[in-house]
Symmetry: C2
Subunit: 298 residues, 2 copies
Amino acid sequence: MKNFVELETLLIRNKIKPRKLVLVNAHEEASLLSVVEIMKRGYIEPTLIGNEPQILAILEAHKIRDVLKIIHADSDKEAAFKAVECVRDGDADILMKGFIQTSDLLREVVNRDTGIRNQPVLSHVALVEIPYLERMFMITDGGMIPYPNFEQKIGIIENAVHVAHALGVAVPKVALIDAAEHTNPHIQASLDSEKISQKTWKDATVEGPISIDLAVSSTIATTKKYAGKIQGDANILVVPDIISGNILGKVGTLFTEGKMAGIVQGAKVPIVLTSRGSTLDEKINSILLSCFIGNEES
Amino acid sequence: MKNFVELETLLIRNKIKPRKLVLVNAHEEASLLSVVEIMKRGYIEPTLIGNEPQILAILEAHKIRDVLKIIHADSDKEAAFKAVECVRDGDADILMKGFIQTSDLLREVVNRDTGIRNQPVLSHVALVEIPYLERMFMITDGGMIPYPNFEQKIGIIENAVHVAHALGVAVPKVALIDAAEHTNPHIQASLDSEKISQKTWKDATVEGPISIDLAVSSTIATTKKYAGKIQGDANILVVPDIISGNILGKVGTLFTEGKMAGIVQGAKVPIVLTSRGSTLDEKINSILLSCFIGNEES
């Protein structure tokens, strides 16, 4: 896939029925407007949870006359609880964070008794579009787990592969990013990568350690005579920690006028968890991406 | 500074006298040609160490008729030893790696009895030009120390600040890069950064943890109402480990048609240590950068 326009085309072509999205603490302009925009395009049916008078005031200010389903909540905790309840009851296919601390929302998601976690690891998957490369790829995990251990890395990969499958990539190429393409005993990440790439993977090609240029540029893979299965055509870039993931995502888009979408995987439904600094575009793209997840079985 | 063209202009304007460069194992086309090119521009007086017949064959093949100083060496070890000896004897201002393993060269550099180390830490400093940002900045360390500890981070910063001073930046802004701009107890790098930024720094402004976008984009620093001393105008980006540095350097230049130069600091003279995969441009820019170092006292 080249860009987010193609992503939306794919959504239309696959005739995915509108997804039920629940927005937690919808009394925030940017999140609310992104949800309304995607609703108007017909991809989602939103439920807004939060401070009802404030939500109505934002809708009024923007002259949004659509009748929207609103569930009032008095506190952050109540809003998060009710949103998670919607998912539990089958009333939501997508959970989206509005004006609430990430930790407050996730506390309810991972609650042992009432939560909706269904994978060993909750991880962040970013989908980026880089004009210069004319293609998209995923970065994981640049948002959730600071320093994943070996088992968590496996979970991170599984979550991202799931997203790739949902997007129609049958056997995604997964690159375990490092400073070079050989195992260096002084670099723990490279030792992990070697072990991970030796595992048997179903429906994915996993390779590493591999440097970023070989993973994303076929020109460089050819120039350097790289002999691996990934030839600059990786679909998923797995980074060793949150800082390198953050750098990769931000530099990849910032300096190139690229675009990004991000979701959290590992719960019963995808969680749209863009930050308050995210652009409207990023929120919209993240919702579009989340619309694919959970449809792959149908 | 905007780009490498300006860097070269600065070299001319400062009337820096030609630097004595010694190329270790000069019997490699790419390195040799980059040295000859910079010699022709009048910035260096090279000494070529290595296999003399092979060196002469390359010069002959490229019709290079200049009389070049050549010191024959029979082995990698001998070449590295002789090159380091040149530095020790004051016969070289710049050490450059040719067709030799980095480890074989560095072994002689750090030799306790005959070596030329003069700082606690040997670290890599990359200078990058990113057209989209219309300015240059340094990245350190993306090439030498896999996972620097606290003391090594201090050394890495000192080495890079020295380069900035040599380039005429009196009080460089040093950004300690992280996934966010607040200290996160789960992220060791952020704890280190907090401690490092609280130290008293002479002739440098050191700030962190700070995310990459706030460090390099003034637009984003303004949008996010970032209140720090760095407002997208960092001169030096300090990364927590070699992988994030490698990602930052490569992504910063790859996707943007940017350019890079790299030297190793911490020895008596700068060491040009570009890899065999480096372009001629990168080698040339690295030599240009190294010409500044050691001139700042004169």
